[in-house]
Symmetry: C2
Subunit: 356 residues, 2 copies
């Protein structure tokens, strides 16, 4: 624990988020769902996508761009798919509803896709994918976002840093969880470099002319993020755009609003997509889990590179952080604490634990 | 056209491949399917995965590791999924069968997954994904492979360079097609650098100790390929391994044989996975296609980076190459011609067009 962090118990943080959300008009169930998504994301150390964002969501709830009482709805469906209209409900509620719909459909069809429109920034994709793993399924979650990422040959934002996550249930091991942006890095990491006045690697950003730069200050106004691995990240972002928006019938590319910077009284129109694959339809779940454990252990037991102590499986470090957080509290960084304090102030909620 | 290339008509190349395959015992239909996959791959300029590989497949067909008369079989199925046992048929036949099974199931369920075991190296993943686009569907294809790729912290091959492809049907535009390896580059590109005695970028390979190197000669014996974008490519490769092998019930990681270097009398046990999403179940196909065209044109019309003439959509360059090849013939590189000559010699097929 460094001087910049404060240990906060998961329960206290959860209760605070629920209180903030019910004060904005969410019912208790929706407040609980939303708070759990954000607090869980903090427990795994992904502070850029956790409770730090709640102040911004609340701003939209109060301004009307997000509707506190909206109920997401299935607008069309088939044996192995559904389309969901989020009706500008807070995206955690819509996304959990959509993933649970995918899980329910996969239970009978074996596989299911759910496309979502009229949602908003949903935070960490991995949270929703993990709901499937908890149900013994392979899960995927993805979403589009307002353009902030250049593509090869372009200057300026063309696609969002469209996130993608998948998870695989394991047996004795923790589920495999990968949660990545299509960009070389999440915009939040560039903002950290800005705050710390540091240069960034030259494959993170292009400047106003579309030329790679190490100056984080060009983002987001003049420059743009770069996709990971050039045409590969670009192509994956476009796949996500297709499944989350083009197929789901929602806002595409430039018509998606920024959840942080656009008029908070207007919906952002984010889309999303969720997939569930019911392992038990195809193989005995316990046999599958033994196989996944074996894969995890085979990877972990591989010969180490010079200087490497161990090999991590995707999600492994995050599960460890989560266990620590549940046991000892979450070491919230200063910027998260500041955002929570601001939120408490905005809503005039009494929070002795937030006092500096 | 450089002096190292020869223009060969698509028809002539197709007929030669069919002749080679029927001589090995494949029936005419399977020979046609296999030849089409390989020749089509040459037409889009992906010569590392086209007819150049046929000599190696034929070697396995003659040695018994691939069975010329095997018929792939659905071993289990549900409304939106199937598992296929390739029974060591040549992988193009099994993969086309599996993708067509996914398309057929998606026609009723909306979405379908097909997992394949007991297959072999299937060449270009994009070929199979494109079958879905032709049927008005979004398609995905992926496969595992013998370990030749290190993961962060490891030395030596841990996972295959597991390929992934997707395709999206468009209207007036060509379908979007992305076909990528989980590695920073395909092993074939390292072999080209070896042949040309060139250094490679330092994010392609690690040496015997797991340390990044620019020396292509370490591959494949001592060193290993690196995943694209570090943990992102690693995580994607593991997802592909899960869907292609762990769920499909086939050979996993180290138990997959090398289609080039392992005993050709033994099966390699490759797995694969195919997904189809029937657009028309969820939206009018023509409306969807108009949206896809709009996305393609919006990307293409984005402001250009300094020095860039145009922005390409995934697959666009390949479609143009294919049109050129169909019109003028395929400009086969020298190494492909040499492999085809070797194949003609192995099978004592008369090929005046192959004479040097």
């Amino acid at each position: 624990m460094t001087p910049e962090t404060t240990l906060v118990s998961v329960t206290v943080l959860q209760e605070f988020c629920e209180a903030a959300l019910t004060r904005c008009g969410l019912n208790e169930r929706d407040a609980k769902i939303t708070a759990d998504a954000l607090v869980t994301t903090d427990t795994i150390g992904v502070f850029t996508h956790g409770t730090k964002s709640l102040r911004g969501y609340v701003r939209r709830l109060r301004a009307g761009g997000l509707k506190a009482d909206a109920v997401p709805q299935v607008t069309a469906q088939g044996p192995a798919w559904a389309l969901v209209d989020g009706r500008s409900a807070i995206a955690m509620v819509t996304s959990v509803f959509a993933m649970n719909t995918a899980i329910r459909k996969a239970r009978t069809a074996g596989v299911a896709y759910v496309g979502v429109r009229n949602s908003c920034h949903f935070g960490a994709a991995g949270y929703y994918a993990t709901l499937a793993a908890r149900a013994g399924m392979i899960g995927m979650a993805m979403a589009n976002d307002t353009p902030s990422m250049a593509v090869p040959g372009a200057r300026g934002g063309v696609l969002g840093t469209n996130p993608f996550a998948y998870t695989v249930p394991a047996g004795e091991e923790d589920p495999i969880v990968l949660d990545i942006a299509s960009a070389a890095v999440a915009g939040g990491k560039v903002r950290i470099a800005q705050a710390l006045n540091q240069k960034v690697p030259d494959n993170w950003l292009v400047d106003a002319e579309g030329v790679p730069t190490t100056d984080p200050m060009v983002y987001p106004q003049a420059g743009a993020l770069l996709p990971f691995a050039g045409h590969k990240g670009y192509g994956i972002a476009l796949m996500i755009e297709t499944l989350s928006a083009v197929l789901a019938g929602g806002a595409i590319m430039g018509t998606v609003g920024s959840w942080m910077d656009s008029d908070p009284s207007q919906p952002t129109g984010h889309g999303a997509a969720f997939l569930a694959i019911d392992v038990s339809a195809m193989a005995p779940l316990d046999v599958f889990k033994i196989r996944v454990d074996a894969v995890i252990r085979e990877i972990r037991a591989a010969p180490k590179a010079k200087g490497a102590d161990r090999i991590y499986v995707p999600g492994e470090m995050e599960w460890q952080k989560r266990r620590d957080a549940l046991e000892r509290g979450i070491a919230l960084p200063d910027d998260v604490m500041a955002s929570l304090r601001g939120l408490a102030h905005d809503l005039t909620i009494e929070t002795p634990w937030l006092s500096a």
